[in-house]
């Protein structure tokens, strides 16, 4: 379980959120939803120690971030990568082993084999030798999911992984997430397509400059919460007859 206690983050004078407390359960896929600018990506970066926090503690199964850092796989929302970099798809995925290897050790034969398998899982095996810039947006996204597979992480965090990606790839990635869930891993997915909330997630966190509500999807994904966080109109559309069950 990932536990967050009184977490406060401020980029400027006004904090994005104050004293956030929330838990993410192992063996569950937890969705995070909230309007643009609500602080979803900020919460994730703060949990991972990528940005400065004002207050707060984050522990994973009782361990501090420093102790569990190597068990995290994180796929960023928008990557400002240099797509002309001289590296191919295979080698990008292989960097997923770097954290575990540490200094002075090189990926082994077995690592390379797993790398190819990960590429197969995201249906990119034929692109292994392709330079990284010669991929579509959706293919690139799947490369980063393949890298996350190689990290063998216990905590997997994906920030808007389905943006610009076709339904087929989305389903393939969800299947991988289900596999991880069944293996007891902790999975966190920031997502903006509210239609799929009840289908995709076990637990849900609603964020809007602070926690609106969190818990099992059935308890949290309610017309009242959606109305409070987004708008009455949206809530009406989503929860119109049959809408919520979709």
């Amino acid at each position: 379980m990932l536990e967050v206690q009184n977490l406060t983050v401020a980029y400027s004078d006004t904090p994005v959120f104050t004293d956030v407390a929330v838990n993410f359960n192992a063996g569950k896929i937890t969705g995070i939803i909230g309007p643009n600018g609500a602080g979803k990506s900020t919460l994730i970066k703060a949990m991972l120690g990528l940005i400065k926090t004002q207050t707060g503690t984050v522990t994973f199964n009782g361990h501090t971030l420093k102790q569990f850092q190597k068990q995290i796989a994180y796929v960023e929302q928008r990557k400002d990568l240099d797509l002309t970099f001289p590296i191919n798809v295979f080698d990008v995925v292989l960097t997923g082993t770097y954290g575990r290897l540490g200094l002075f050790r090189q990926p082994s034969k077995a690592d390379r084999k797993r790398c190819l398998e990960a590429l197969k899982q995201v249906d990119l095996a034929e692109f292994a030798d392709r330079q990284i810039g010669q991929l579509s947006g959706g293919q690139l996204q799947r490369v980063f999911v393949a890298r996350a597979i190689l990290q063998k992480a216990d905590l997997i965090i994906l920030d808007e992984p389905f943006v610009g990606i076709d339904l087929q790839s989305e389903t393939a990635i969800m299947a991988i997430l289900h596999g991880w869930r069944d293996a007891g891993k902790t999975i966190i997915v920031v997502h903006h397509d509210l239609n799929k909330v009840s289908r995709y997630f076990d637990d849900l966190v609603i964020l809007n400059h602070g926690i609106v509500d969190y818990g099992p999807v059935a308890d949290v994904y309610t017309p009242t919460n959606i109305e409070r966080t987004f708008s009455a109109d949206l809530s009406a559309v989503l929860f119109a007859q049959g809408g919520a069950q979709a």
Partner: protein, 290 residues
């Protein structure tokens, strides 16, 4: 071709020319390798800045009679640190911060040099004087080349990932900043070695041009490093030959050869360039219709 024979004969006869050639080759190799990382990290400006910012260090080393490498390293790292500090502690962008810091260091260097030494030496520092390379210079260059190779071999993974995807390295707890400053230190050492062959003003050319040329030919980082090193070495040899034969200044001769190789690659290389685009366009059309 007669002039080539003359050059080779002279090489056999004159020790100073041998030392010059060996040193120039070593500098070509190390600047090709480090330069590859500099351009991939989008730090060409930083390479230029560090190469100028070592000037006060060179002057202080002369004054105190200590090894030039030590004086230069201190000021190189100091400049890199100040640039980072100004950029991170204010809203000023990195390239602006570079401009402010390096010009100040450069100016300070000029004043210190003029206090310390005669103007001929300043000329050598600015434009290089490969034919005056001493045995100690050659030894120092050898040590730096060894360091560069060890650095790149032992930290290849880390150099790759922090150049390509630093946030990812951060998520698994790698100290990206430490490697950055290590690279700056190595860059400073390479810069000081290159001072002898091409001078301060053209150091950036040795860092950037062979690496940029190599980049045009390959999609693999390891290949790019080897190619950049080779191109750096070739530029040095051919440049020195021109320098000896036509009595050109050695630094500019080496840099022009490197630029010539870049020019050729720009036209014929598969990645970038003018000719292949035509063929590629046709191939794509064929694939589309197939």
């Amino acid at each position: 071709m007669n002039s080539v024979t003359t050059f080779v004969t002279a090489l056999g006869r004159y020790d100073f020319l041998q030392s010059a050639l060996i040193t120039a080759i070593m500098v070509g190799i190390m600047s090709g390798m480090i330069g590859s990382f500099i351009i991939l990290r989008g730090m060409s400006m930083m390479g230029d800045a560090i190469s100028h910012a070592v000037l006060p260090g060179v002057a202080v080393a002369y004054m105190l009679g200590i090894n030039v490498m030590i004086g230069a390293s201190i000021f190189g790292i100091l400049a890199a640190g100040l640039i980072g500090l100004v950029a991170s502690r204010s809203k000023i962008k990195t390239d602006t911060s570079i401009g402010v810091v390096f010009s100040a260091f450069y100016a300070l260097g000029f004043i210190l040099i003029s206090l310390a030494e005669s103007s001929t030496n300043l000329h050598h520092i600015l434009f290089g004087n490969i034919l005056a390379v001493s045995d100690t210079d050659m030894m120092t260059t050898t040590v730096v080349l060894g360091l560069v190779i060890l650095f790149v071999v032992f930290f290849y993974k880390e150099l790759l990932i922090t150049s390509f995807d630093p946030t990812f390295a951060q998520t698994y707890g790698f100290r990206v900043q430490i490697l950055h400053y290590a690279l700056m230190l190595v860059l400073t050492l390479v810069t000081v070695s290159a001072l002898q062959t091409v001078g301060i003003i053209l150091v950036v050319a040795m860092l950037i041009t062979p690496a940029a040329t190599a980049f045009l030919w390959t999609d693999r980082l390891a290949v790019m490093l080897g190619l950049a090193a080779t191109l750096g070495a070739i530029s040095s040899v051919v440049g020195l030959y021109f320098s000896y034969t036509f009595n050109w200044a050695s630094g500019p001769a080496i840099v022009l050869v490197a630029a010539g190789l870049f020019g050729i690659s720009f036209v014929v290389s598969p990645k970038q360039a003018l000719l292949p685009t035509l063929f590629k366009g046709k191939a794509r059309l064929r694939r589309a219709t197939a």
